[in-house]
């Protein structure tokens, strides 16, 4: 019986090519969270892909409608949970645009530090996990070594490592401690060398190049149509970085380049992230040299005072500040009637907040435009035609976070 079957296979010209459905995720390690992909396979080749999202949906937009503007800040930590400080900055800026408040220069510089530290941290994790997906275990351990340093810095900034909630409308929660600066200076000095190490380890590695070059090519036209932003769009040659094209928090003062890819394949996206880390170090170095003295929260004008919290140190010692904190915390101020959209360059792409206010303490609509949501939509069109092993390479190069995709 067995022998005849073997003979059958050997003599048969027809190979069984029935399509197979593979359910990848939501708990697959290379889906970096809870993304589910339903893949239709013909042998090793992907015939069609159906992404299924929503496993991490927590109704943040609904929650936001019931909370005052200040109280939503902790929820923004949990959007892109690899760059919580960055989300804090984005939300504070959107609220400031609505309220018409400007943030003091020192707080702006501190926000730039927050932004760039979280960009490096997020790119490090993206790179480490990506390399591990493709079999280069060492990079993951190396990047986590550097991320530990960044988390120490973040701990010095706000006392927490992960759930930062550091920014406030009109500024930041508190000034940075004196012992933060030498730590940051040491980090800025050391980090470019570390990036060179990753670069040397991967960029000329034959296996790495074979796995990433020419795989997952995204065209410029696709980027425009799908609203892809961040390193994914820049890898495809779109020179669009919100820090350059719509500068905020004083980014126009700093000298940095926006790396842009040519081919739009996985390797270009990887390279864009490597180079962005170097540029972030450049920006951090400039902030270190130029950060001005002054207050970290805007305390000018009666209207502004109604909507910003007092400095935390004052609250513990000063009766007026305590009352003020209580009033803003419990009642909050009424926002002007209007609608604003504000977006920043987050590590994953353009994170935007659309706030609609009809007056009152709470937003009428709080929309979060997460870059990962838009960036993941391309999978349906991109994956067919590639091999299953390429799916890991493409997923890692898109570098998404389900927290902001599902919100």
């Amino acid at each position: 019986m067995t022998e005849t079957r073997i003979l059958d296979v050997e003599t048969s010209d027809e190979v069984d090519t029935e399509a197979m459905l593979i359910n990848m995720g939501p708990q697959h390690p290379s889906t970096h969270g809870v993304l589910r992909l339903v893949l239709e396979l013909d042998g090793e080749e992907v015939k069609s892909c159906l992404p299924d999202i929503g496993f991490l949906h927590r109704g943040k937009e609904k929650v936001g409608e019931g909370y005052s503007y200040h109280k939503f800040i902790p929820y923004t930590d949990r959007l892109d949970y690899l760059a919580p400080l960055s989300n804090n900055v984005a939300y504070a800026l959107a609220c400031e645009k609505l309220f018409g408040i400007e943030c003091p220069e020192r707080a702006q510089a501190i926000r730039v530090i927050c932004h760039e530290l979280s960009r490096i941290s997020a790119h490090l994790l993206g790179l480490g996990a990506y390399a591990m997906d493709l079999g280069a275990m060492t990079i993951f351990l190396w990047t986590f070594r550097e991320r530990e340093t960044i988390y120490t810095l973040i701990e010095r900034i706000c006392g927490a490592r992960f759930t930062t909630s550091y920014t406030r409308i009109g500024g930041v929660e508190r000034d940075l401690p004196d012992d933060f600066w030498p730590l940051l200076a040491a980090f800025v000095k050391e980090m470019p060398g570390r990036v060179d190490e990753y670069d040397a380890m991967l960029s000329r590695n034959k296996i790495w190049r074979k796995r990433t070059m020419g795989v997952g090519i995204i065209t410029k036209e696709q980027c425009m149509q799908y609203g892809l932003t961040g390193p994914v769009a820049r890898g495809s040659g779109i020179d669009r970085d919100m820090r350059k094209v719509m500068p905020y928090s004083g980014y126009e003062k700093y000298d940095f380049d926006v790396p842009v890819g040519v081919e739009g394949d996985c390797f270009d996206r990887y390279m864009v992230r490597i180079m962005e880390m170097r540029e972030s170090c450049k920006i951090l170095g400039q902030v270190l040299d130029t950060i001005p003295e002054g207050p970290v929260i805007n305390r000018e004008g009666d209207e502004t005072l109604k909507s910003v919290l007092p400095e935390k140190t004052g609250v513990l010692t000063n009766m007026e500040a305590l009352i003020h904190q209580f009033m803003v915390g419990t009642e909050s101020s009424s926002a002007p009637v209007g609608e604003v959209y504000f977006s920043v360059e987050n590590p994953k792409g353009e994170l935007g907040f659309y706030l609609r206010s009809k007056g009152g303490h709470c937003p009428d609509r709080l929309r979060i435009r997460g870059p990962s949501f838009a960036n993941l939509q391309i999978l349906e069109e991109l994956l067919p035609g590639y091999l299953v092993a390429d799916v890991m390479a493409i997923l890692g190069s898109i570098d998404f976070v389900m927290g902001e995709c599902d919100r």
């Binding site: 149509q225 609203g227 932003t229 500068p247 126009e252 604003v340 959209y341 977006s343 609509r365 838009a374």
Partner: protein, 212 residues
Amino acid sequence: MSTMTDHGDPTAAAAVHEAFPDVTQAPVEFAGDVRVWVEPAHECEVLAYARDELGFELFIDRLGADHGEDAELRFDVITLIVHPVTNRRLIFVTSIDEKIADVPTLAGVFRGAGWFEREIYDMYGVTFAGHPNMTRILMPDRFTGWPLRKEYPVEGLGDFAAPRRALGGNVDGTDGMVAVPAHPGQPGAPSADPIRPRDEDGEISNTKEWQP
């Protein structure tokens, strides 16, 4: 300040209004954003014009918003597009009634609108005519109701309600909330004291023997 808020493109918005005077309204500006109201039936046409003639090729966002049950035109569908060279932004708003509730899909103009429209459908129940896959995207398929509508409670309804216990209320399952068995020791629990035996009336019994 100018760099912070100056993100809209009033010239392009005026050009759109000029090209479609009957189906658009004059642009509105707030804090630097420019908003153009469009009739739902002509939205694709106007957006295709902005994309092809004015160069606003980059799709950014499409979102829904609810004005509440009393509003005449209840839902807004808002679309954001960007000019990739000048990097100025245009915001198009179309308003619809709950009964009309059928906007032509934008997926023919921007393919990326597909998921965003599914999310609007998921959250508001607004359907898009001609959409290739008008199904829920973030909420589970068996979910009922439209969570971002103003009348939908934040705690949820029916099977999807947050457990009452977590909210600190009673556990009688009223208000459409799901009844959750109370933890021993909580008010309403069948036996608040797990050690002392109770008689049929719920009183602590001294006659029965202790059974630790």
